[in-house]
């Protein structure tokens, strides 16, 4: 007991002694030693967000090759040779062929639709995020290489109201606020009816502000009810199923989320850009 007291007394004395405390003292404002953690490309971040939300809604993530045969990129999507709609997308064609078939860098993730449906029967729900290519002049909002994500739902009695709901749920989750969806008429050969797709401005919520240039709505992409010709091309009976599909640019979502003003940055490899995310 006595010994313990002595020890404790000594300890107390020691801690009071000035010079030792002086030695212990350090400048805690000096920067820490960092190992350095890497950064994801913002496209990857957005892609994960999208995948997670859709998985929560029971969608499977599918993918296909980036080099597609003419058949899957066009014909199976109700765009036979010499269809004027083929010119809606300027396509990179390859000199090489596969078994006599023309090859293209896929101009849309929709190319995966037919492939997937050939192997699966409805009901089905998939999303296809992926790299796409179009031979377009590049500027701050266009790049010849870009990322799309495609959603496809097929089953019995799927209708336009379902498309609206799924889109609304997804965008509300993604932007963490209530988003409304507006459909406008459009044309895509692989859907009928076809829509252009707007969502309420993510900044003002549809009241009108500088971000949406007082338009209240932001244009996001194309959508529609799957054309029965597409179902027929994969071997489903005409009018047995209905479904909807859409395709949006991932870049656009990333640009909205992070206020990025030049889409070419995503493929720049510039660490001054990537290290911000």
């Amino acid at each position: 007991m006595e010994i313990l007291d002595i020890i404790n007394g000594k300890k107390a004395d020691l801690s009071k002694i000035g010079p030792d405390a002086e030695k212990e003292k350090i400048d805690i404002t000096i920067p820490g030693k960092k190992e350095g953690i890497g950064h994801l490309n913002p496209i990857s971040i957005v892609r994960r967000d999208i995948e997670d939300i859709f998985m929560g809604m029971g969608f499977e993530i599918a993918d296909g090759p980036e080099i597609e045969t003419e058949f899957y990129n066009f014909d199976a999507l109700n765009m036979p040779k010499n269809h004027p709609a083929r010119e809606m997308q300027d396509t990179f064609w390859l000199k090489d062929k596969k078994g006599g078939e023309n090859l293209a860098m896929r101009s849309q993730t929709s190319a995966v639709q037919a492939k997937y449906m050939e192997k699966h029967k409805p009901p089905l729900r998939i999303i296809v995020p992926g790299k796409c290519f179009r031979r377009e002049a590049t500027d701050t909002t266009h790049d010849h290489t870009f990322y799309q994500f495609e959603a496809l739902v097929a089953g019995e009695n799927i209708n336009v109201g379902h498309l609206k709901q799924v889109a609304q749920d997804f965008f509300s989750q993604f932007f963490q606020k209530e988003i409304k969806v507006r459909l406008r008429p459009s044309y895509f050969p692989f859907t009928e009816p076809s829509f252009e797709f707007d969502i309420t401005c993510t900044v003002c919520g549809g009241v009108g502000c500088r971000a949406c240039k007082y338009n209240k709505w932001l244009e996001l992409g194309g959508a529609g009810m799957v054309n029965q010709n597409v179902f027929e091309a994969v071997g489903y009976k005409r009018n047995q199923y209905t479904g909807f599909a859409w395709g949006f640019g991932l870049e656009r979502l990333a640009m909205m989320k992070y206020k990025i003003d030049d889409c070419r940055l995503f493929h720049s490899g510039d660490l001054r850009f990537i290290r911000q995310f």
Binding site: I61, N159, L183
Partner: protein, 791 residues
């Protein structure tokens, strides 16, 4: 296409403002790309009255004028000689911007101040006349806007519509858009189409023959005599200009006007130039002969083949059908008799020809999207009407060849299905009214039989009809509805989640993720020593730098390294992406990971070992450290990547399974990319890696008995590799060896220090036992590997 709103108003009878109409069209029909007030106020140029003209003191050709512009008087220097005192002329005052972005400024011209400009016709953007100042009507009042006295209507708006291929056949015309507007306002479109019937006057001068009926569905020719070629009236010029077309002369302008109104491209020939004999003319529509030539209106001489359709007079090619007229058959100011053409050509053929020849005209743009053959008649009648008025033309007669008349087709619509697909019940009365407005007559049987008018080529399935019903009724009326479906978990995409895992581990190791294009150029093939025939090649690259589909991720990564070295001295980057090799002429897709590392101080071998450490960390964290090896590549030249330093490259493999390689980039390649530092890269195939990482990690019991460690320091002969030492130690020590670790190395002397950890699973090792093992190890090292142990 650009549309004049006044024109649309006239045709549709709408009372809506352009803004309201644009909104209505946007929500129910198609995208509006622009709506602008037509810029025809001439920038604010006003009327001036000339009060005085004096000679310029320092220039013979110039005059100094005093001009009244109402309240003010201006001094203006002028070079034209056609002016007289008392005349009214257009005055552009200081600050006004004339066509061509020419701003009027206060100026001093040869020492005399000038406060504006008197304008010639061309300076106002009204024509080509530059012969003198435009003299206005005497009644013009000084100070008022000039446009008032030139019959220019400035109240028009230009509507620009994005016309998609499905509706091109009817919407690339003012009548088409006017019809659409009427429908949206629930009014019947009352354009007098039914009155547009060809006169029954058969031409004595013109005969038409269609040789290739599959490529030309109808050809109407009409001969008009007594034509006077003059400038078009102002109203006609204005409308063309608003739609972006240049005025040429009354006949050509009239053909363009009718095209803009009805959507049917038309053409006019000079009969004098195409006639064969005795003032007669035989038009023969046929395929071109091989190597047949034609000089087009744009003066280009082109060679044709049997895929191209020609309008000929038997021998000579007069026009490239549906695309462009010939230079030698066109209208000139001396033309007296004309042959007018309204025809219907095969869309696919026009498209092929114009693509093959690289031509793109207003005409081919419409034909290649197909046009209703019945439109030719309406357009021809309209054209004749207009030419009678503006060119004093007298119809001589008509030749109409229409081998197979196109009639309306029937589409059966299931009303229940329509409501089901839209997800909302459209009241039947409204639905029938919409169809009626669309010009579709209906008959109710079990299904609704819909007779589609020939001017709607796009309505062929019931879904097409449902779309029109839905959009005209209003998509905004369709409520969102939750899907009623089984609750099923989403099937997990293993590859996606494996890649996420890889990304996350690499972030932890300090690597940043880059994305690159999937292409590189021939220049890169040369720099990196890649082989062209291993690559897929684009037929139509953006530029030569992006001609080949990447077979290696490393190439674009090197460019990332070069660019980032401008801002950073040390970094690690990675990319996950697809690359394509061409093997036996077949594309082979690989999903690969590439890592690249550059160090601030890169010494001799630091960069290599640093990246190797990262790769080892990554593999270990995936549970595949055991059995993975970094072997030297077997020397099979095709197997080693040509751009790698051959003595600093290693295969990454698990057993026999090679999943990738790592090493340093060859010095010469670095130099060609202007990179002055060592760069280490590792490329790993992710599908193979995932398979290797599939086996589950199994827990190993933690040893209850103490672990003893002993160090050995040695100088190793150059030809002996570290792996041989480690292997020998493990073999000699047997089960007792837990691990062997190289913890120090001095490169100059090739001295190494290793730490050996030993334990037994069932007992505490005695020091005698340890010493015996160590002795054995040391002696084997000395004997087998000729290592010099430092004591």
């Amino acid at each position: 296409m650009k549309y004049s709103y006044n024109w649309l108003k006239e045709l549709s009878g709408t009372k809506l403002s352009p803004e309201k109409a644009a909104e209505l069209l946007t929500m129910h029909s198609f995208e509006i790309e622009g709506l602008e007030k037509s810029n025809n106020d001439l920038g604010g140029v006003i009327v001036g009255e000339i009060l005085e003209i004096t000679k310029h003191p320092n220039a013979d050709r110039l005059q100094v004028t005093k001009i009244s512009i109402g309240k003010e008087k201006l001094q203006i220097v002028c070079g034209a000689s056609n002016i007289e005192i008392g005349q009214k002329v257009p005055v552009a005052t200081v600050g006004i911007i004339l066509p061509g972005n020419f701003e009027i400024r206060e100026a001093s011209i040869r020492g005399v101040k000038s406060f504006g400009m008197l304008c010639a016709q061309d300076e106002l953007g009204l024509g080509n006349d530059h012969s003198g100042i435009l003299i206005l009507d005497e009644k013009a009042k000084a100070g008022e806007l000039v446009q008032k006295y030139l019959g220019i209507n400035d109240n028009d708006s230009v509507l620009e519509i994005k016309v998609l291929p499905d509706r091109a056949h009817d919407i690339l015309s003012h009548a088409g858009v006017a019809r659409e507007l009427s429908i949206l306002e629930k009014r019947k479109f009352d354009y007098a189409f039914d009155d547009l019937i060809l006169p029954k006057k058969i031409s004595k001068k013109l005969k038409v023959e269609i040789r290739d009926k599959d490529l030309c569905k109808r050809y109407i020719g009409a001969v008009m005599e007594n034509i006077k070629i003059v400038e078009s009236p102002q109203w006609l010029k204005e409308r063309l200009e608003i739609c972006g077309l240049r005025s040429i002369n009354n006949v050509v302008d009239a053909t363009n006007y009718v095209m803009l109104e009805l959507g049917q491209p038309l053409h006019a020939f000079d009969l004098e130039k195409i006639k064969t004999q005795n003032e007669k003319c035989d038009i023969i529509v046929r395929r071109a002969k091989n190597q047949e030539e034609i000089i087009l209106l744009d003066e280009n001489k082109i060679k044709l083949n049997g895929d191209n359709l020609l309008i000929t007079n038997g021998d000579d090619a007069l026009a490239l059908a549906g695309i462009m007229g010939g230079k030698n058959s066109g209208i000139t100011k001396n033309t007296k008799t004309i042959v007018l053409e309204a025809a219907s050509f095969d869309a696919v053929n026009i498209r092929k020809t114009r693509m093959a020849l690289g031509l793109n005209t207003d005409s081919s743009y419409r034909f290649e999207k197909d046009i209703d053959p019945n439109l030719t008649e309406k357009a021809m009648v309209r054209l004749l009407e207009i030419l009678e008025h503006i060119a004093d033309g007298k119809l001589e007669g008509i030749a109409d060849i229409y081998p197979k008349k196109i009639n309306s087709c029937v589409v059966n619509l299931d009303l229940e299905y329509a409501n089901q697909l839209l997800g909302e019940k459209v009241p039947e009365k409204e639905l029938l009214n919409i169809l009626n407005l669309l010009g579709i007559s209906t008959q109710k049987k079990k299904l609704l039989q819909c007779a589609i008018p020939t001017y709607r080529l796009d309505l062929r399935t019931q879904e097409d009809l449902i779309e029109d019903i839905g959009r005209i009724w209003g998509y905004e009326k369709i409520a969102s509805r939750p899907m009623m479906t089984e609750v099923l978990p989403a099937k997990i995409n293993e590859q996606v989640f494996f890649e996420r895992k890889i990304q996350d581990k690499l972030l932890g190791l300090g690597f940043d993720e880059v994305y690159n294009y999937s292409f590189y150029g021939v220049d890169d093939l040369e720099k990196a020593g890649l082989i062209k025939k291993d690559h897929l090649q684009l037929r139509n690259p953006m530029n030569p730098d992006q001609e080949f589909v990447r077979a290696e991720l490393a190439i674009n990564i090197l460019k990332n390294v070069r660019e980032n070295l401008k801002n950073f001295s040390e970094f690690g980057i990675f990319e996950i992406g697809k690359c394509y090799a061409l093997k036996n002429n077949k594309p082979v897709e690989k999903r690969n990971l590439i890592l690249a590392k550059v160090l601030g101080k890169d010494g001799n071998s630091e960069t290599f070992y640093n990246l190797k450490g990262a790769v080892e960390d990554l593999l270990e964290s995936l549970g595949i450290s055991e059995g993975s090896t970094f072997g030297e590549p077997k020397v099979e030249p095709s197997e080693i990547e040509k751009f790698m330093n051959p003595v600093r490259v290693a295969k990454i493999s698990f057993g026999e399974n090679v999943v990738g390689f790592m090493g340093e980039i060859k010095q010469s390649v670095l130099e060609s990319y202007k990179i002055s530092k060592r760069v280490a890269v590792a490329e790993i195939n992710l599908e193979k890696l995932r398979k290797a990482a599939e086996s589950l990690i199994e827990y190993q019991p933690i040893n209850k008995f103490p672990v003893v460690s002993r160090d050995i320091s040695m100088v190793v002969p150059r030809e002996v590799r570290y792996l041989e030492i480690e292997t020998l130690v493990k073999k000699t020590g047997g089960e007792l060896i837990d691990s062997v670790l190289l913890f120090d190395r001095f490169e100059a002397k090739n001295s190494m220090a290793i730490r050996i950890e030993m334990s037994a699973k069932d007992r505490t090792l005695e020091s005698a036992e340890i010493d015996a093992v160590m002795e054995k190890i040391v002696s084997r090292l000395e004997k087998d590997l000729k290592v010099e142990i430092r004591k």
